[in-house]
């Protein structure tokens, strides 16, 4: 075997005992040493399973029938144990919380080194190097539960990197991270690439990582359908990947593809903003302001002023939070991990009561109204859908709230069927909620909350780990509800592409205080606020800012690729 090939799949297939169809079949794949490979595909296509085969989690821990062959670093994974593979192959998962083996940062970094049976001097020197590389000096002695979300993720990476793996497998580690922390992870992967580590990643944040990616492998229905350099793949197949598979592709590539539809000029195909700047600086743009129609109603659904809140342990979580949400709008609540967004949301549904300040939600005083009353008109979809499931079938789950409202059976059945089919869940009425796929669970948790027609719906990270198709399905659904029924949506999110496209207004929190409220397009021009709140511009906004620095005079009001393409002269 060519020593340069570190992962080799040969007609490789996987079938789990619980399913009647193979999850992976006839996979042929060769990954070279030092390559950064991005595995993409719609939910359920088997990309994560393929990743988990590369360090023998499948079939060593999750039993499965294997066909063909997969060898990693010359070892046939079928014959190996996870812990044995772990000596050379590092893996980072989504939830940092369940990846700590020890109670403090230093001991956790040491854990893997102890497993490699290194001597103390070697361990100490590796810990030193890793802690310095990751900038963890200040928290080295801290207990893991005292860390912020971003710090936790960095410690998880530090613990793996200290082991100096030859291959690094990443299973969507940035799903719930704010843009600044995502960028920190980008820097780590970049360093690893420079050191010749082979990286295979499943990652929904394509824009953030595309610069590092040497190779894209697209999967669908258990097979690899496309395999090549990102430029080649997205140039030739970008539209199809987006349209048919419903995947995020780099926004700049999407822009180029749309532009080519309008003017038939094939040239250099951009992936990043920097590359796109070269391409789009050649054009001139129509002048004129892009004016958005401001929300009509002036009536406020949420009107919160100067909220202060202390947790029982003394943490000062809200230090003067303000929030105004107009009726019939989609408003985004942004901010770093731990900036107080979730705490503020819990005040809006009456679960937490402010220490001081005032707030009116749907005409009710949040200080005096109990959660029992507020939740009749305000709903929240929590981050983890499973937290909100109570019943054993999808139908009962949906009908639960209607039953408590004493609705009659006929109405219940009609409402449930209607909503389920609107969210693409028709026919799943009798399934157990826990048995649904991730995307289906997410949509069910939304449907369950929408069935009461709340005046205000709060969404906590609605796009968490979703592909483009599911994200759009859900967000379009909300936009329709807002337009047709005059409902109001407040969404907490880290996804800036979603913000600029769907939100009419944004509020930004930092350290428990609201530091900005206004339109997203204005926000993305304010560098100091973006930095303070760990945010970043979506690629398209960055491109516009960069083009305007060259004197192109593009209206900063543009929000979508269509807007932009329409301006090209």
């Amino acid at each position: 075997m060519n020593p340069d090939i570190v992962i080799k799949a040969d007609q490789f297939g996987v079938q789990f005992p619980s399913t009647d169809r193979p999850t992976l079949s006839k996979i042929d794949l060769q990954i070279h040493r030092g390559e950064v490979t991005l595995l993409m595909g719609p939910s359920g296509c088997g990309k994560s399973v393929l990743l988990y085969c590369m360090n023998a989690v499948v079939p060593d821990i999750f039993d499965a029938r294997i066909e063909g062959e997969l060898s990693v670093l010359g070892k046939k994974v079928l014959e190996r144990h996870v812990s044995e593979m772990g000596r050379h192959v590092g893996m980072v998962f989504q939830d940092p919380e369940s990846q700590f083996a020890m109670l403090d940062v230093q001991s956790d970094v040491a854990f893997g080194l102890e497993n490699l049976a290194l001597d103390r001097d070697e361990m100490r020197s590796r810990i030193r190097k890793t802690v310095d590389l990751m900038g963890l000096q200040a928290i080295e002695k801290k207990a893991v539960w005292q860390l912020s979300g971003g710090q936790k993720e960095k410690v998880v990476f530090a613990s793996i990197l200290a082991m100096e793996p030859e291959i690094l497998l990443l299973d969507d580690p940035c799903a719930n991270l704010d843009p600044t922390t995502t960028n920190a992870i980008f820097q780590i992967v970049k360093t690893m690439r420079e050191r010749g580590v082979t990286v295979v990643m499943v990652e929904h944040k394509v824009d953030e990582f595309i610069e590092l990616v040497d190779r894209v492998v697209i999967m669908d229905d258990g097979r690899t359908v496309l395999d090549g350099s990102p430029r080649e793949i997205f140039e030739k197949h970008g539209s199809r990947i987006k349209r048919e598979l419903g995947l995020w592709i780099p926004q700049m590539s999407e822009l180029e593809l749309e532009k080519r539809k309008k003017r038939n000029a094939a040239g250099f195909f951009p992936l990043t903003v920097k590359e796109a700047l070269g391409v789009f600086a050649r054009y001139d743009y129509l002048a004129g302001k892009f004016v958005r129609k401001a929300p009509q109603a002036q009536e406020l659904v949420v009107d919160v002023e100067d909220l202060q809140f202390y947790y029982p342990d003394g943490t000062h979580a809200l230090k003067g939070a303000n929030l105004k949400v107009r009726k019939g709008s989609i408003t985004a609540l942004l901010g770093a991990n731990g900036s107080g967004k979730t705490t503020l949301a819990l005040h809006l549904i009456g679960i937490l009561k402010p220490s001081s300040g005032r707030g009116i939600v749907c005409g009710m005083d949040i200080k005096k109204t109990p959660a029992k009353e507020l939740t009749k008109r305000v709903s929240q979809v929590f981050q983890n859908p499973e937290h909100q499931f109570i019943k054993t079938t999808v139908f009962d789950e949906m009908a639960f709230s209607l039953h408590t409202m004493k609705a009659d059976e006929r109405t219940i059945k009609d409402r449930v069927d209607e909503l389920l089919s609107m969210l693409g869940l028709g026919g799943l009425q009798d399934r157990h909620p826990a048995s649904l796929s991730g995307g289906q669970k997410r949509r069910l948790s939304v449907a369950v909350m929408m069935i009461m027609n709340p005046d205000l719906l709060i969404l906590d990270e609605p796009t968490y780990g979703q592909d483009e198709k599911n994200t759009r399905l859900m967000l379009d659904f909300f936009r329709d509800r807002v337009r047709q029924l005059g409902s109001t949506v407040l969404m907490i999110t880290h996804d800036m592409k979603v913000v600029i496209e769907y939100a009419e207004e944004v509020a930004v929190m930092s350290g428990g205080t609201t530091i900005y409220s206004g339109t997203p397009e204005d926000l993305f021009l304010k560098q100091e606020i973006l930095e303070k709140a760990n945010l970043s511009q979506p690629p398209l906004s960055r491109l516009v800012v960069d083009l305007n620095a060259l004197g192109k005079g593009i209206s900063p009001g543009i929000r979508s690729i269509d807007d932009f393409v329409g301006l090209i002269k």
């Binding site: 049976a117 103390r120 937290h387 408590t404």
Partner: protein, 270 residues
């Protein structure tokens, strides 16, 4: 988070410097010894001794009280119950009326049992507050406990605060679903069923993921080393030796002098 309060507090005291194994032997020794004694005065001497070690270990009383306030209440109940029900053949000290009287026998039995409990609690607190669980894992592995078992203790310590947090989120998530609106037994049952399902789902997934993540980091892939050193500690030896001598003296006095208080105590076996 209240859970964190019942954990190890770093320090440099004599007791902190004792290694986890000798300290564990000390704890087991004290726990057995309190059942050997049947005289409240000797028992109080043992309690005094363990209290002295508690003070030497610089364990904060406030923290200990926070953790054991419920158990302390239990102690008071045990004392009251013994004093009031164990009438024995002792002298009557106090007439309370309604047929209730305090006798010397009841008083002594109450003091014996209460100080026995208190000694056990004190000694356990000293152990918990002065022993780093990670050192305990290293020590356990050193004396031949399999790694998986030694580390399961640490995992449990990680798992608890995680599930506490998870429980809070689930409660919030379910308030939003309107679970609190239903009254009566049905509403009560629904509420609990509502907790159990998601906590179980998430708990099992978390536990599995924790195990996988550890294995992915080459856990139990062969011989393992430790960053932390395990050494039999001199302070541990001194602690154990001093305790043995002190207890031996008490036993000797007990055997030669008999009970200091010439009172027949009806034994309450438990």
């Amino acid at each position: 988070m209240s859970f964190v309060k019942m954990q190890f507090v770093p320090g440099r005291s004599f007791v902190h410097r004792s290694d986890p194994i000798l300290k564990l032997i000390w704890l087991v020794f004290v726990s057995f010894f309190v059942f050997v004694l049947s005289d409240p005065v000797y028992m109080l001497l043992v309690l005094l001794y363990v209290s002295a070690i508690f003070v030497v270990s610089r364990t904060s009383f406030r923290q200990a009280a926070g953790m054991f306030s419920l158990l302390a209440l239990l102690l008071v109940i045990v004392l009251a119950f013994q004093v009031l029900t164990n009438q024995g053949r002792g002298q009557v000290v106090l007439e309370l009326g309604l047929g209730l009287k305090v006798t010397t026998a009841g008083l002594y039995a109450g003091i014996l049992l209460t100080s026995r409990f208190a000694t056990l609690l004190m000694a356990s607190m000293v152990y918990i507050f002065t022993t780093d669980p990670m050192d305990l894992a290293v020590a356990a592995s050193h004396v031949g406990v399999p790694d998986r078992l030694a580390f399961s203790f640490i995992l449990a310590l990680r798992f608890l605060p995680m599930m506490t947090e998870e429980g809070t989120v689930v409660r919030h998530a379910q308030i939003v679903r309107g679970l609190t609106r239903e009254k009566g037994l049905r509403g009560f049952l629904d509420r609990y069923a509502g907790y159990v399902l998601p906590l179980l789902l998430v708990g099992i997934r978390r536990a599995v993921n924790m195990g996988i993540a550890m294995d992915c980091r080459a856990f139990s892939s062969g011989k393992r080393t430790f960053l932390r050193e395990f050494r039999w500690s001199n302070s541990g030896k001194i602690l154990l030796l001093a305790t043995v001598i002190y207890f031996a003296v008490i036993l000797y006095v007990d055997a030669t002098q008999g009970h200091l208080l010439k009172v027949q105590i009806e034994h309450w076996s438990w």
